[in-house]
Symmetry: C2
Subunit: 451 residues, 2 copies
């Protein structure tokens, strides 16, 4: 469904809700795909979201909508729902979506919800919470299709038909296990159809399976899916027994989330930004601004060191912003290229030296170009101060070169120290570049112009 149609639907539903015409609203919603209802949720306020959700009688539809909305929205709806109904809906969800929502819910509500569930369900869910955040274990679906290697293709198809009756879950692959439940192969439905029905599946299966453990980072799983074009990756324990599968739709979420997270971290704010209040947002960004503030405060002290120079030649102050801006621009760009290159694997670790040298080369070319331009402009406008043009042009070039080095090296160093290269590199890069730029500029001005 395209955006224009969503807009019309949104208008109608809102109008009906306002008028209290719930049965009419219900009729519209029941005709929609669950994914489209979930999409609509982005445009509804909390009250409307909840009102729409109450209109959905069917458990499976409710479960599907809940698994399609943003997890904070889903958690919010679930928290406000009657506990027993909430527990039923959770049970109807895929295990991975269920965990995704329970992660976002307060511990108290979670326990209340789980009290309606069987001991084995509760145990399974609690086990998932033992896996590290952002690990494969947290997003794996424990609902997968595994068969013993000794059964025949016709038996396999019968199993598939049986399972089909109580599950709407998409079957991506058939996993083949031995008597001790060790994963020994993988088989597509199509492969099953290509051989005589009496063939044993270990004859059909592909034995060379790429698998991960539950502790594997989700981003690593995403990279495997991308590299091999898989639709799902099996998750196995240390003994190679199957625990679940991570499916491609979850991998897409990981990739989208990872990119946003990287960008947000680079500019100095946290993840999960959108659902937060103003106060919460301000608190998230405060520490990174502090980096900028401290950098600026150091800049004040540096400038103060050169007060004699500045007092004699006030024109020097005019060029502070441009020198800082050009350096900052180079620093941010170089940093972004390295951070993103590391994240996507476009820059291999072996190539980092080359990446730094290339950025330095770019900064040199651009620094000479714009440094010369500034020199000429400064000479034309402030020619009465001898050498002022030379000082500002050269300082800008040096500041840009330093920015390229700092911008590329800072994420690389973080990477080697096993930190996330994206974390707030932005504010640190710019404030370092700013302070050093001031030092070089006024240092040079003092030496050249004050003798």
């Amino acid at each position: 469904m395209y955006t224009s149609k969503i807009d019309t639907l949104l208008e109608s539903i809102r109008k009906l809700l306002r008028r209290g015409a719930y049965p009419n609203a219900q009729r519209i919603i029941e005709k929609m795909r669950a994914a489209d209802v979930a999409y609509l949720y982005r445009y509804l306020n909390e009250k409307e979201q909840f009102a729409v959700f109450k209109l959905i009688d069917d458990l499976d539809t409710a479960a599907e909508i809940l698994s399609h909305v943003d997890t904070p929205t889903g958690a919010n709806i679930l928290t406000n729902l009657e506990r027993e109904r909430g527990a039923e809906i959770l049970k109807a969800m895929d295990p991975d979506d269920e965990v995704g929502i329970l992660e976002q819910i307060s511990e108290e509500v979670r326990e209340e919800l789980l009290s309606f569930r069987s001991a084995s369900d509760t145990e399974r869910i609690e086990e998932v919470f033992l896996f590290p955040e952002d690990s494969a274990g947290r997003i794996m679906n424990t609902n997968f299709f595994a068969l013993n290697e000794e059964i025949t293709v016709s038996e396999a198809i019968r199993e598939l038909q049986k399972k089909g009756e109580d599950s709407t879950e998409m079957v991506f692959y058939v996993y083949v296990v031995d008597d001790r439940n060790h994963l020994v192969g993988i088989c597509s439905l199509r492969q099953l159809l290509m051989v005589p029905p009496s063939t044993r599946i270990h004859k059909v299966m592909t034995p060379d399976v790429v698998s991960v453990v539950p502790e594997t980072d989700q981003e690593e799983v995403a990279r495997l899916v991308e590299r091999y074009d898989f639709l799902a990756v099996p998750v196995v324990d240390q003994e190679n027994k199957m625990l679940g599968i991570v499916t491609v739709d979850d991998v897409i979420d990981v990739i989208r989330h990872e990119a946003t997270e990287d960008i947000m971290k680079m500019v100095g704010t946290g993840d999960e930004y959108h659902s937060r209040s103003v106060l919460h947002r301000a608190r998230m960004r405060m520490p990174w601004l502090l980096a900028a503030f401290i950098g600026g405060y150091i800049g004040i002290q540096f400038l103060k060191m050169f007060d004699a120079t500045l007092e004699k030649i006030v024109a020097l102050a005019y060029f502070l912003p441009i020198i800082i801006a050009m350096g900052g621009n180079i620093g941010i760009t170089s940093m972004t290229i390295v951070v993103r290159g590391l994240a996507t694997g476009k820059i291999a670790v072996q190539e980092l030296r080359k990446a730094v040298l290339k950025e330095l080369g770019v900064a040199l070319l651009l620094g000479i170009l714009y440094g010369a331009a500034l020199m000429v402009l400064a000479y034309l406008q402030f020619g009465d101060v001898t050498y002022l043009g030379l000082v500002v042009g050269t300082s800008m070039l040096i500041s840009m070169l330093m920015a390229a080095v700092i911008g590329t090296m800072m994420p690389i160093i973080l990477h080697y120290l096993k930190f996330d290269p994206a974390v707030a590199t932005g504010p640190f890069v710019t404030s370092t570049v700013d302070s050093l730029g001031i030092l070089v500029y006024l240092g040079m001005a003092t030496v050249v112009l004050m003798k």
Copy 2:
């Protein structure tokens, strides 16, 4: 295969290539998955890449490797290959991968390669090039599995088996068409297995198909796949006749690419950055730096307007960098939040006003906090200038508020003018924020301190 194993393999292959022990290198490579060989290519230089490629005899393996490497790498290998061999390898590739590589090749080489192909192949490929760049038509696979609605499930399975013999392509869905080839439904392999073999497939299929046209933007396709958790989306013409499918692996590439592109554009450099020379990179970034340069130059003029003020109170210059840095930080963060929010759909267009107000709220809180801090620090250090602290603190607050407005509004305005909100918003936001910050700061200083 994990990174550590890749490292070992890389070492061995390099050593063997250096020693000219090609048969040994060949033996190692033949044992690897094509996707792993392609992964290795990231770490090899051009000469090594080509040498490894020459070791691969099998046409399908060569085709698979070529479809897994980065398209610029693939294009480079293909350009250096003997034309006839190149044409054979291209023919063995999936149609969408083939087009992906041909896009990156010079027109001359492309024509030479296509001269070895049948008229119908050439026509098909040339038709694809008529679709806009970044459209679904460019990445669709014309190799899909469509069946007439009137045939039975057992016939469908027989067709599937027949097709299987000459294709390794993954079958995602069975597409159901009527007598005039109009797309009328979709069916998973599993659905086929769930009914008696004599059932006609129009009884099994899901009739409500989401499809796109070849002109649909790839990002729109990605959003549909994300919303509905599809494994593939059918591409149809205006008459609803099937032309091809866009598969989830290509969608993952689109999402990854889109995120990187957005980030790169925001900081002011082009896409496809990594494979470029230093000179080319410098040329790509030059125009965006010009925006920063012009902004800085305007800043110089603004500062010059206030030379009397600056000459009287040199200490004012000390605070220029911190006021600019804090404003710039707010501006870049606000901008990133809006650009990314628009791209991922986390910020709906209807919510933009709310997003601006929230950012303004955040800037107000942070501006009061850091403005007050700067006021106090300025008072402590430069208390001899009455009201200096007041001026710098207030200016910083105002500059941060302006930055929040400019940072959020600029991408929104670009969005409404149908421009890409990401394009170089960074340099424009920072230079606007810088110049206005200078104006406010020194304007206020002149009014308050110079009377």
